[in-house]
Amino acid sequence: MDAIEVHDLHKRYGDRVAVDGVGFTVRAGSVTGVLGPNGAGKTTTVECVAGLRRPDRGTVRVLGLDPWRDRRAVRAVLGVQLQEAALHDMLTAVELVRLHRSLHRSGRDPADLLDAVGLTEQARTRFDRLSGGQQQRLSVALALVGAPRVVILDELTTGLDPRSRDAILEVVRELAADGVTVLLVTHRTDEIERLCDRVLLLDAGRVVADSTPAGLVEQAGLAQRVRFRTSGGYDRTALLHLPGVGEVQRVGEEITVSGTGDLLGPVGAELVRQGVVATGLREERPSLDDAFLELTGRRLETGRDTEVLV
């Protein structure tokens, strides 16, 4: 069953086309990452899914409901953490969780939830006196307070220190284990690799890749590389004739063998056969970041850059 279905979504702001025919489905109980450069249409897409914006064209369904027309029904089953949304800043953490809990007919226990995001000690601290990371964790807690079946998290770890980040990612992992569907907008490929079953790559308002994280790297068609160092000679031609090898380059003492498929085993065996004394033999797999660069022609911006741009 698909928890989220988006078909042929279009949205423009004046002359600027933000989303230009986006389509994807998210299986119930899966964690799907939405990756893309700034202005790719990520936030507009999730805002349409959240029922905050009305699409110009196309259909959006959350658990079979139209988030714009059936707003009330969708809000009862959908939890949203927004990138630019503040809270009543003079209320304390526990007052805010209780307030938002009371806006839902059913949901999670406020104290348990504060504990889950590690804010028990700050329960009686006013929102405007929490640190940025603590505010972020509270906003994740509020997205979960109605015990939603589908959760949208937009840049949830921006501004978090590594320890808070790990704690929040653990909360997301537990959600997924409970069968909650998660749509995660992020700039961080490491989060995608750690959490996501699927990744959607958006660029210029379109889906340019829709795959598993590993599949995305494969789709980018980037060369695998094996590097080693040797001070003596070696048989370059024999290496070039190994299956999958496309190129062998030498810079000083470092030799780089690039090509496709699994190169480490065959290159290692060939070096042993030639009796070459090689050090530092290692494989470099292209990362999700490399795939991103290849597929969009752009480097991934970090969350920090976004804040500066905003």
Binding site: L63, L82, L87, M90, E95, L103, R105, R126, S139, R149
Partner: protein, 259 residues
């Protein structure tokens, strides 16, 4: 998997409304400056009028004192103006500016209840402020109750509607919290200046005094003063309040932006 979501009751629970009113009350109570001014300023005005009351013959004001006919009405209009046109709209503008409305927009309750809750708290605060001013006038300066209590009650309701609708319009049109403060204060002080806040408006040039009596501040003072004296309020003042309430409310509903 939830398969019954379509049948789930989706209205805002009563507990949600109460919690929102409680939250708004806390926000207002913790905003010390915003809390004190609408209580302190009218008391100051009232005290000054009470202490400097000119000696007028009893027949001039149908047997009532200047404190009753002008002081209490000016204090009430000051409370309503500060809360309705300055305080409530600046909360609403801040909620829009910082994304509180957006955040509430994705809860099952939506963002409308928070506007209602903030208005409810503003009304309660206005009631408390007017009650306090009245209490001081009665206990401190020996003021009596209005001769026509129903005119006073009706006038107060109409004045409340006018000031709060005007505030909603300010919140709808002003882009930032600071511009709400600026526009709200200009409206409050401007209508106050021609409405008797700084002294007897009959000393103003004729047309200005006439305009002042129709604008919310002066209209409130006129209608409440008439209620204390027991004379019928001027039609222009009553209509001024009613038209302000209707036109401003319609404009606010038309132009209010959520994000």
């Amino acid at each position: 998997m939830t398969t019954t979501h379509g049948n789930r009751a989706t209205g805002t629970p009563l507990a949600g409304w109460l919690a929102l009113v409680g939250a708004e009350a806390r926000m207002v109570a913790r905003d010390t400056a915003g809390l004190i001014v609408p209580f302190a300023l009218p008391l100051l005005i009232l005290t000054m009028v009470g202490l400097t009351m000119p000696d007028v013959g009893p027949e001039a004001l149908d047997g009532r004192t200047p404190l009753e006919v002008a002081g209490i009405p000016i204090a009430a209009a000051t409370v309503l103006g500060l809360i309705g046109v300055v305080n409530v709209p600046s909360f609403l503008a801040a909620y829009r500016r910082t994304g509180v409305l957006r955040r509430l927009g994705v809860t099952p309750a939506g963002a409308v209840p928070v506007l209602v809750a903030q208005t409810v708290v503003g009304l309660a605060q206005a009631l408390a402020g007017i009650g306090l001013a009245l209490g001081v006038a009665v206990l401190g300066f020996g003021a009596g109750m209005p001769t026509s209590p129903w005119v006073a009650a009706g006038g107060l309701l109409l004045a409340t509607a006018a000031f709060f609708a005007l505030g909603a319009l300010v919140a709808a049109l002003a882009p930032t919290t600071n511009s709400v403060l600026a526009i709200g204060l200009v409206i409050f002080l401007g209508t106050g200046a021609v409405g008797g806040m700084f002294g007897d408006p009959s000393a103003l040039p004729g047309p200005l005094a006439e305009i002042g009596k129709v604008l919310p501040f002066g209209a409130t003072v006129q209608v409440l003063g008439a209620a204390w004296r027991g004379v019928p309020p001027e039609l222009g003042s009553v209509l001024g309040l009613a038209v302000t309430a209707l036109v401003a409310a319609a404009g606010a509903a038309r132009w209010f932006r959520w994000g």
